[in-house]
Symmetry: C2
Subunit: 246 residues, 2 copies
DNA sequence: CGATATCTTGAGGAATCTCAATACTAGTGG
DNA sequence: CCACTAGTATTGAGATTCCTCAAGATATCG
């Protein structure tokens, strides 16, 4: 049973025959791995790609599934998580448009990937993707850089989880979200926080109650404002940054 | 001021002229990135490599240093760590013979690398190493696999830091150490734990007192024995594994 | 507009931390 | 070879942060 639907038109396929790749018009290409390719190479990408659309509540893949594809998020937001046998969950990351997903040394995924809102992704069969890499060393190098980057981000998160207080964790989280939105060219200050308290808690190694109380504390301290529609204004980014600790 | 001494003979250089690479005799080559090269390609590796020796108490590089080299641990053990402005420390990993070190997307290292005991490493100038990768795609692919692996390990550690109890953290730690020793072909059961309580605490997101108390608790529960010389016998690996949670 | 999920707030409890004293270990010099 | 020292580890008692359990408030969606 498929975990999502393949939606051919999630990515425009026009002109594939004519030699113009849908990727050429992709708004996030430059910030994604695909940006490593020249325009005349994009056809090769489009040839192995399927556009998929996923709704919140479904899954892209589960921990333990055979790792048959790699993905690129084009719209929406995705959470990556792992479970302990008794159900405790740790979210290891949130992905946004442009982010790459599915690198696996193993033959199976080591984490679950689920959209937290309606999202679209480009899906590449892993084998074809690897063949593509063989012919495009620039792209492979980019992927390596990307992995290094993710590794550095993972280390940030370890510092957060192992050594920061609840207040520091939430401050870091909000600032990081804001920075990432900025890099994608979206509004960085009232920052959009699409995830639930449960997701934030499982990401920061806290309970939902502590997350809620800490939001209240930051608000009462005049550091943030909670706006409608899951938006948060960073009233005092400087202080917030000082609290976040790096 | 150099942070360590270059010790030409830390890696045997005999026969470089004669075309036989010191790497050919390297006992950890197969488990390291270098294993991706054929024997007739090893000369290229040796040409750009320096052997370095470092003592506990020194550093290989610090967070923020320009990332001019990449390394491979050949003997000993190395800790990677990051600091918060107020001095709180998080150790993000321990490296053992065969482990690769120094991947950096940035121009500077994002973490500090220090030996926790007398160690030897192969050091490669980053630029030369990247040039080498250009000519040896198999090695680059291996490096990518390695990075994926590290990413999965980092996720394990996030689960540990965010969602495990002190008892579970220590059990996981001991089992992981044991497994890694085994993969290197060393004794897996009385497992050698070369790091101090402080290092273990900073790795597991605990205090040294809690680490110490938890060691005592595991010992009293009959799960481990503490032997002389920083060795720990896993008396009941099965139960320990169940406690570790994955 | 009701139903359901999500979020907030409160009170009490538990795990871990802090501070402090003592014990152990390894290395050094007599 | 032993005594001394400095670093490292253990143990205890009390403090603190965060968690658990529970109730009420708010938001979301059909």
């Amino acid at each position: 049973m498929p975990r999502y639907n393949i939606v051919p038109n999630a990515v425009p396929r026009v002109d594939r025959e004519g030699g113009v790749s849908p990727c050429a018009a992709c708004p996030i290409r430059e910030i994604a791995v695909c940006g490593a390719l020249q325009s005349d190479e994009l056809g090769a990408l489009a040839e192995i790609l399927d556009g998929i659309a996923v709704e919140a509540g479904s899954a892209i893949f589960y921990e333990g599934d055979p790792a048959r594809h790699v993905f690129n998020v084009t719209t929406g937001a995705v959470r990556l998580s792992r479970l302990l046998p008794d159900g405790r969950r740790q979210i290891t990351g949130f992905l946004f448009p442009g982010d790459f997903l599915g690198l696996a040394y193993d033959e199976t995924y080591t984490y679950t990937a689920e959209p937290i809102e309606r999202s679209a992704l480009c899906r590449f069969p892993r084998a074809s993707f690897e063949t593509l890499l063989d012919g495009h060393p620039r792209m492979e190098r980019r992927l390596l850089g990307l992995a290094s980057n993710e590794l550095a981000t993972a280390q940030d998160q370890m510092v957060l989880l192992g050594r920061k207080t609840a207040r520091e964790k939430l401050a870091s989280f909000l600032i990081t979200l804001s920075r990432r939105a900025e890099r994608r060219g979206q509004g960085a200050n009232p920052v959009h926080v699409p995830m639930t308290r449960t997701d934030i808690a499982d990401y920061l190694g806290l309970t939902i109650e502590t997350v809620s109380r800490t939001f209240t504390a930051l608000r009462k301290a005049g550091l943030i404002e909670q706006l409608p529609d899951h938006a948060v204004r960073l009233t005092d980014s400087e202080d917030l940054l000082a609290i976040a600790g790096d």
